[in-house]
Symmetry: C2
Subunit: 206 residues, 2 copies
DNA sequence: GTCTATAGACGGATAGAC
DNA sequence: GTCTATCCGTCTATAGAC
């Protein structure tokens, strides 16, 4: 449970207050276990206000689905040293997850919600596609961009899953340094190595 | 929605009927969205019977949490050709997922439930630890076994997530052949390559 | 914009007859 | 072992006063 308590009273931006609370709760509990009442309580507003602003629970979810980190910033400068982009990428991501628990919780929450709810899965897919894929384009090899980006995403998503959600001992107890050494070359491979180009290249690049 | 309808009337093993229905529904909808009533309806039994056999919903979940594939069988013979174990492993797993939709749904369901429910996450962690880790031990390098196994699991979990749950275009539209080419070397690296042994080896092998 | 009150539905769980 | 009946809590959503 990250930073609790009301904001400094000055900012009574109710709508934003609700959105923040909803983001936290969806991340913590998933869609079903998050009640409108709980969101209202955390945001310190009346439950009816949420309906006023977002119509219903799904509207609230849609509005609350945002990436907690800026992918562009995360990937900035990675193309300066393409040989070590893989290592740098794992390192930075782990840096965020280890150093900013709130951001980590939010990203875990995105996964949680995306898995628990059909509509949210679509929303998450679009969100990731519009942000990460585009941001990765600069550092990724020319061919099979979408496949490469997705492979990078799948590995990092799997790590997020194993380390922070399921708590698989092998990856939960590893140090960030170990993970960088182990996973860096893998991302490097996905970014610039051969990724199935020999097989049906026509269907791969869409 | 896999094989519907009652079994051949001969086998009136109610308990098993319930367990099957519960496994399907938990996989399809996650923990919260699965209602006792729905399980009862699908198993064609009275809702009260479920309580009779499994006490409550969590008891039912615990009993329904089983791997749909035998890890030992999946990994059998992989140590015969250690150089290509990575490729073979992705290939076999993709073979199961592509060729056996029911098994795929069940595995996706395990992820879904593990993410949607704290207790289930613990159960899933133990289940994976007791089966996959042990099965992988034979083909994995001697050092950092638990880390290696977890890394393999994280990548395959991430692929499961991206390809079948979220439907990220890059991995959703790739052919199994492409994925084998792209991911095979990665698993190979996790199985036998250097995985952060230089950093704090003492804490790594637990 | 904000809140009170409440409708309306559903789900988990239990008691107890058969 | 199986089923009927039902309690009790909780949730989303809405109507309407202020």
């Amino acid at each position: 449970m990250p930073p609790r308590g009301r904001r400094p009273v000055g900012s009574s931006d109710t709508r934003q207050e609700i959105l923040t609370a909803a983001g936290e709760l969806f991340a913590e509990r998933g869609f079903e276990r998050t009640t409108m009442r709980a969101v209202a309580a955390r945001a310190d507003v009346d439950p009816a206000l949420i309906h006023h602003y977002f119509v219903n629970k799904e509207g609230l979810l849609a509005a609350a689905l945002v990436l907690p980190v800026d992918p562009a910033a995360l990937l900035a400068g990675l193309d300066k040293d393409p040989e070590h982009a893989g290592e740098a990428l794992v390192g930075r991501l782990l840096g965020v997850w280890e150093g900013d628990p709130d951001a980590r919780h939010r990203m875990v929450g995105l996964l949680r919600v995306g898995l628990s709810h059909e509509r949210a899965a679509a929303g998450l897919r679009d969100l990731l596609g519009r942000t990460i894929l585009i941001a990765l384009s600069r550092v990724v090899a020319q061919d099979h961009r979408s496949l490469r980006a997705a492979l990078v995403g799948s590995q990092m998503g799997g790590l997020l899953l194993g380390r922070y959600v399921l708590g698989i001992p092998g990856v939960r107890d590893a140090t960030p340094g170990q993970l960088v050494v182990a996973i860096g070359p893998v991302l490097q491979h996905y970014l610039t190595g051969p990724v199935g180009g020999a097989v049906a290249p026509a269907t791969a690049s869409r």
